[in-house]
């Protein structure tokens, strides 16, 4: 009977993985199709849709915008989040647990609600610059990810090591740099990765803050899908998938994938 249980577990795992990968994997062959339909199996082989990416109105600029916002939001979140995490772990702050919950709370709440709230609040104060609005909102979106992972890393860190470094001749900042930073690097990098992805992929918050000229990639893609769907979408998607895999491999080499995601 135990064998049965193990069999069920493994079957479930295989099915899960196949199921999860299915929609991602089908996109790739479709992007190489010759016809302008999404038929499977795809007919022919052509790189035309990849070439079209450059020509599609607004796609590249949306990509640029998304990357820009994601990078900046991530950096700001890393800065604010790390400072906050250090304070919470070492600073004897009253109500640290409550503050931690608060800092992570944006994750718990529907992004759509926050997007609307942001839109309304900004309108009330007459602030209408789409770019800045997006940035502010995306920092809110990304901060919880950074907090969680950096906090996790910090709480596992033995601050006795910093003391040891100081007795061996390092100044306080030097000790932090040489001892603390390398050890919380997994939390740092995984936080940055989650943050970047969360911002780059974000739809529910962004939809309310974009305007006609400032569109992020997910919104542009969705537009495209609704208005004039053709395999260019598949080509873009494939590029994004490949990019994501490369980034994951990079992070795994640097930090280790499992360490990253379990923190």
């Amino acid at each position: 009977m135990q064998r049965l249980g193990i069999g069920i577990a493994w079957t479930a795992l295989i099915l899960t993985i196949l199921f999860l990968l299915l929609p991602i994997v089908v996109v790739i062959p479709v992007s190489f199709t010759e016809s302008s339909v999404f038929r499977f199996p795809p007919e022919g082989f052509s790189l035309q849709w990849y070439q079209r990416i450059r020509n599609v109105d607004g796609l590249l600029s949306a990509l640029g915008l998304s990357a820009q916002i994601a990078a900046l939001a991530t950096l700001i979140s890393l800065f604010l989040g790390t400072l906050c995490a250090i304070a919470l772990v070492r600073g004897a702050v009253p109500g640290a647990a409550a503050i931690t919950t608060f800092m992570v709370s944006p994750l718990m709440l529907p992004g759509l609600v926050f997007g609307i709230a942001m839109l309304q609040a900004l309108r009330m104060v007459g602030f209408s610059d789409a770019w800045s609005s997006l940035l502010i909102a995306h920092v809110v979106v990304t901060l919880p990810f950074v907090m969680r992972t950096v906090l996790g890393s910090l709480s596992l860190f033995d601050f006795g090591m910093v003391d040891a470094a100081r007795t061996l001749g390092c100044s306080y900042p030097a000790a932090l740099w040489r001892v603390l930073v390398p050890n919380i690097l997994p939390g740092f990098i995984s936080g940055a990765l989650f943050a970047f992805i969360a911002s780059f992929d974000n739809y529910p918050v962004s939809i309310f803050l974009v305007d006609v000229r400032t569109k992020t990639l997910p919104i542009q893609l969705l537009n495209y899908l609704e208005i004039s769907p053709d395999p260019t979408l598949a080509a873009v998607s494939t590029c994004l998938i490949v990019l994501t895999i490369l980034v994951l491999i990079l992070c795994d080499r640097m930090v280790g994938l499992r360490r990253m995601a379990s923190i």
């Binding site: 795992l13 899960t16 199921f19 991602i24 499977f40 609600v113 309304q120 609040a121 992929d201 499992r258």
Partner: protein
């Protein structure tokens, strides 16, 4: 040692202040506006959202969707997490990465891919035709079944990963101990393994439920207006109808649901021993 506050604690200030201003304040304003009408305070918004049969139906539909998604994710994801936790060395890293990867792929890409899978000329129909299971392509797009499958597809990792991390911590000797005490494999599973995995289940289920109840992209892509969720109503109210009051009230309901889930989950965790 003087009684002054440790200056290190002040490092938290910028982050907390930012979140307070950029997150808390807009939310408060939203809640505020949900009870402000054209002339003074009014509960009209809530009255419309909770009183109107249509909107009540939408709320129930969202909860229903959340429930099905969570159930489906549990049935598939719970056993899968066990296999993942017991996988050895290199395999565990690979399998883990395969489960983690879909989380990093944009939801637009996934929903788009799902559409390709389900189309009349898509891969599922192609497979079934070639295997002789059907004679003509079956319409699967825009069916509720497709919606559930698509939702489960998006949120499945959020069930697997928390259960996996709890099961991994479990002492591998416990099932052995149970066996040497005379417990049949079923008894061992229900009295030892299952109870100990419960914190992971609660974490995973609450995560999946709260995310799927508020889902926007997947239902609108896969079903459009045929299956209205709270989030779709809210978006429509703000973007299309410019009906701020309705939107705000619906937003408040969504917030309430989210808050109930969070509080409920943490109460459950505390009951389970908070491990």
């Amino acid at each position: 040692m003087r009684g002054s506050r440790d200056p290190l604690g002040l490092l938290a200030l910028p982050g907390v202040a930012f979140l307070g201003v950029a997150f808390l304040v807009p939310l408060m304003l939203l809640l505020w506006s949900s009870i402000r009408g054209v002339d003074g305070f009014t509960w009209l918004g809530y009255w419309r959202v909770l009183g109107d049969e249509y909107y009540r139906g939408v709320i129930l539909a969202s909860l229903h969707l959340g429930l099905i998604t969570t159930l489906g994710a549990f049935i598939l994801g719970y056993p899968a997490a066990f296999a993942l936790a017991r996988a050895k060395g290199y395999w565990q890293v690979v399998l883990f990465a395969l489960i983690f990867l879909p989380l990093t792929v944009s939801i637009i890409v996934k929903s788009f891919g799902w559409g390709i899978v389900l189309r009349r000329d898509g891969i599922l129909n192609w497979l079934m035709l070639n295997l002789g299971l059907i004679e003509r392509p079956v319409r699967m797009i825009f069916t509720e079944g497709a919606l559930y499958a698509g939702m489960i597809n998006v949120f499945l990792p959020f069930m697997v990963l928390p259960v996996y991390s709890v099961v991994r911590m479990m002492d591998a000797r416990l099932p052995d101990a149970a066996a040497t005490l005379g417990a049949s494999p079923w008894f061992s599973f229900t009295r030892v393994t299952l109870p100990l995995s419960l914190p992971g289940v609660v974490a995973g289920a609450s995560l999946v439920f709260s995310l799927s109840v508020a889902a926007y992209v997947t239902p609108s892509l896969l079903m459009g207006d045929r299956y209205m969720t709270m989030s779709m109503v809210m978006a429509k109210a703000f973007l299309n109808l410019r009906d701020w009051q309705l939107g705000a009230a619906m937003a408040a309901v969504m917030l309430a649901v989210a808050a109930i889930i969070v509080v409920g989950a943490s109460l459950l965790q505390r009951m389970l021993g908070g491990r």
